[in-house]
């Protein structure tokens, strides 16, 4: 025991892995770029499928680490070398940390919606992303369009930046479908008289209780689902939007006016994740996420010995799955550092 573990990225995965590894008796150092722990969870007001507050999960995560591990905020690794199974990492603060194992939990960033030019994000006044909407929700302010009216019709566009080879992202970001449903419900709770439409390619309600949430959206809140991918949005004179989709189930093009358009932005590897890939010479897969040593049996293992992965730096994940993954990584690191015999298995 008494071995050192460096965890890079103080989001959900970093916090939960820190808690487990410190409980197991390792000296854990958690490095976070921002001045606050929590990562994306800081910005998600309510979580699917239960609508519980993001803050509750955050305080749960804090309970595991507060006062138990060393947290370095406002810092990020700038150099890394490996010597005799030891990773020597230099931080931007100048501090040098030596660790027996490094866990990368640098996570994801949301897709830059302005890259889907035809949707007009950053150009049309009333096109926002799911992250923007979440901020609108958590600000507690009245929901208004840029023209100052209460939106009467809101469209949620699924798969923005996901499953789209044209923007280089072939994968499904997993959480956007259910997030759209969750946000549509929240919107209807705030604005019961507004119409909410979800435009989807396939609805991927794969998680437990997700389908129930979808049904609730239809039944209780009257959210309407139109299968079709947004082709283009244009602005009307009153700053509302005219959107064009194919209603693929009727087989006809469809246009409708939207007061507010919400783009469900997908996951991309965060800048930090990309940087860590360079710094630690980690392989990335075709999706640009950090490559797992084996898709089934070594999901927390990177291509470099002693460097492990957890959370969304390796694939899009839900919060539930991120927490599970962080604990799995902790177990894997323990096994590695203790040289358990099961480490002898081959993939």
């Amino acid at each position: 025991m008494g071995k050192d573990v460096l965890i890079i990225g103080g989001g959900i995965a970093g916090m939960e892995a820190s808690a487990y590894l410190s409980a197991m008796g390792y000296q854990v150092t958690l490095v976070e770029k921002a001045n606050e722990l929590g990562g994306h969870l800081l910005r998600w007001e309510r979580l699917f499928p239960t609508q519980r507050h993001g803050k509750e999960v955050l305080s749960f995560l804090h309970c595991g680490i507060d006062g138990k591990i060393r947290v370095i905020k406002n810092a990020e690794p700038v150099a890394a070398v490996t010597r005799d199974d030891l990773h020597i990492v230099t931080l931007s603060t100048g501090e040098v940390i030596t660790a027996n194992a490094v866990l990368i939990t640098t996570g994801y960033k949301t897709f830059d919606a302005s890259r889907k030019e035809e949707y007009g994000y950053g150009i049309y006044n009333n096109v926002v992303t799911s992250a923007d909407l979440e901020e609108m929700f958590s600000s507690g302010k009245e929901m208004l369009t840029s023209s100052g009216i209460v939106p009467r019709r809101v469209g949620f566009i699924h798969c923005v930046g996901s499953r789209d080879e044209k923007v280089g992202n072939i994968y499904c970001s997993k959480v956007c479908c259910v997030t759209a449903v969750k946000q549509a419900i929240e919107l209807k709770e705030r604005l019961p008289y507004a119409e909410a439409f979800c435009f989807y390619m396939d609805l991927r309600m794969y998680g437990m209780h997700f389908e129930e949430l979808y049904k609730e959206a239809q039944e209780k809140h009257g959210v309407q689902f139109i299968r079709g991918r947004l082709s283009e949005a244009a602005e009307n004179q009153d700053h509302s939007l005219l959107i064009k989709v194919e209603d693929t189930l009727t087989g006809r093009p469809l246009k409708m006016k939207m007061d507010l358009l919400v783009l469900m932005v997908g996951f991309e590897p965060s800048d930090g994740t990309q940087k860590m890939a360079e710094l630690f010479h980690l392989e990335t897969g075709s999706t640009r996420f950090l490559k797992m040593a084996d898709e089934h049996t070594s999901t927390n293992v990177s291509s470099v010995q002693g460097v492990f992965l957890a959370g969304t730096c390796s694939a899009p994940r839900t919060i539930t799955s991120t927490i599970t993954d962080a604990r799995a990584a902790a177990a894997k690191i323990t096994s590695y550092l203790s040289q358990y015999s099961i480490e002898q298995r081959e993939n």
Partner: protein, 360 residues
């Protein structure tokens, strides 16, 4: 609309446009649609801007119409285009400037194909050599005529006699810009401003004092679509496309439509008349139709060229109201006089266009 957002986007789609020494290739159909347009371009380039623009007497069609109408195969098109390139090489030019958007699209497509499949280029070189004994060099710069005008838009503005401003009200004219589909929809990075928010015409209009309106069906095709128009029975589909655009732009009360493609101004102009005849609805604030100009005609008007010299009399929708708005003097009596003041006949005035109060 957030202007800064658009500007940010435009910066990502800038292209290199040669400064001088252009090899100009004409459009097949423009000279019969709007005969003054290409002439105006040459005049502006040579006389106003002092540029070297060369036309080779032997150049031909790029086959674009036949290619898009599925009449000739791509191999034929490439070989014909290779011949154009060889004429350019022979004449000692490297910068290709097509007049036609479809030609521009065809050239772009061929150059991109050759870039990714050099064996195709080799094959075409062989075809051309076997057929004509010619060889060629790939153009160093390919820009559409509207790109070139865009590049010199500020020089033109500094020479302008008139502005795209309503003289009576002092308000900028409200301009609808229509970009030919083959300009950037296939290769967004080959167009100025990209495919979704092209800047090429907007740049000209704003530089010359006008205001561009962004209406919902801005991206929609004019309806030419080659096959759609060429078969008479399909024309109802073609006109429906234009109609969709007119209906979408009508609430914005545009003063004029400007285009950079040979087909679009033709259809946007003529279909207004057809719709007026068929459905008894004339567009435009005064029910006089919305004038449609090519970018060269617009430049020529701004520069104060004689409207009848640049062929404005062959427009179906009269341009006179626009000239009155801009304060451009014109002699109505000379409208239908051709070369050597010979009367060239006049069109039957469409029943449904409202000409009352118009000084013709």
């Amino acid at each position: 609309m957030k202007e800064e957002g658009k500007k940010k986007l435009w910066q990502e789609y800038q292209k290199e446009i040669a400064d001088d020494r252009y090899f100009y290739v004409r459009s097949c159909v423009r000279q019969s649609f709007f005969p003054g347009a290409e002439q105006a371009f040459l005049k502006i380039m040579r006389e106003e801007l002092g540029k070297d623009v060369f036309e080779h007497a032997c150049h031909t069609t790029c086959t674009g119409i036949a290619y898009h109408a599925d009449v000739v195969p791509f191999d034929t098109t490439m070989t014909v285009v290779a011949r154009q390139f060889s004429l350019m090489t022979e004449s000692g030019y490297q910068n290709l400037v097509p007049s036609c958007i479809t030609s521009f699209g065809v050239y772009t497509e061929i150059l991109e194909t050759w870039k990714h499949f050099p064996e195709v280029e080799a094959k075409v070189r062989e075809f051309l050599f076997k057929a004509t004994g010619r060889t060629f060099e790939i153009p160093k710069n390919l820009a559409h005529a509207s790109d070139v005008i865009y590049k010199f838009r500020d020089s033109i503005a500094s020479r302008a006699k008139y502005k795209l401003v309503n003289q009576q009200t002092g308000e900028p004219l409200r301009v609808v810009e229509h970009i030919g589909c083959h300009y950037a929809k296939m290769f967004p990075h080959k167009g100025i401003g990209g495919a979704e928010f092209p800047h090429v015409l907007i740049g000209m209009v704003e530089s010359w004092g006008g205001e561009v309106i962004d209406y919902p069906e801005r991206r929609h095709c004019c309806g030419f679509g080659f096959r759609q128009y060429l078969v008479q029975a399909n024309r109802g589909y073609s006109v429906a496309c234009s109609k969709k655009k007119f209906e979408s732009m009508e609430p914005y009360m545009p003063d004029l439509i400007v285009t950079n493609c040979p087909g679009c101004p033709m259809f946007l102009d003529r279909w207004q008349y057809v719709i007026a005849e068929m459905e008894n609805h004339t567009y435009g604030a005064d029910k006089q139709g919305i004038p449609v100009l090519t970018f060269e005609e617009m430049a020529a008007m701004v520069l104060g060229y004689d409207p009848w010299e640049i062929g404005l009399q062959v427009h179906q929708i009269p341009v006179e109201p626009l000239m009155i708005k801009m304060g451009i003097p014109f002699d109505p009596g000379k409208k239908y006089l051709g070369k050597n003041s010979k009367d060239m006949g006049r069109p039957e005035i469409p029943d449904y266009l409202n000409y009352s109060g118009m000084k013709i």
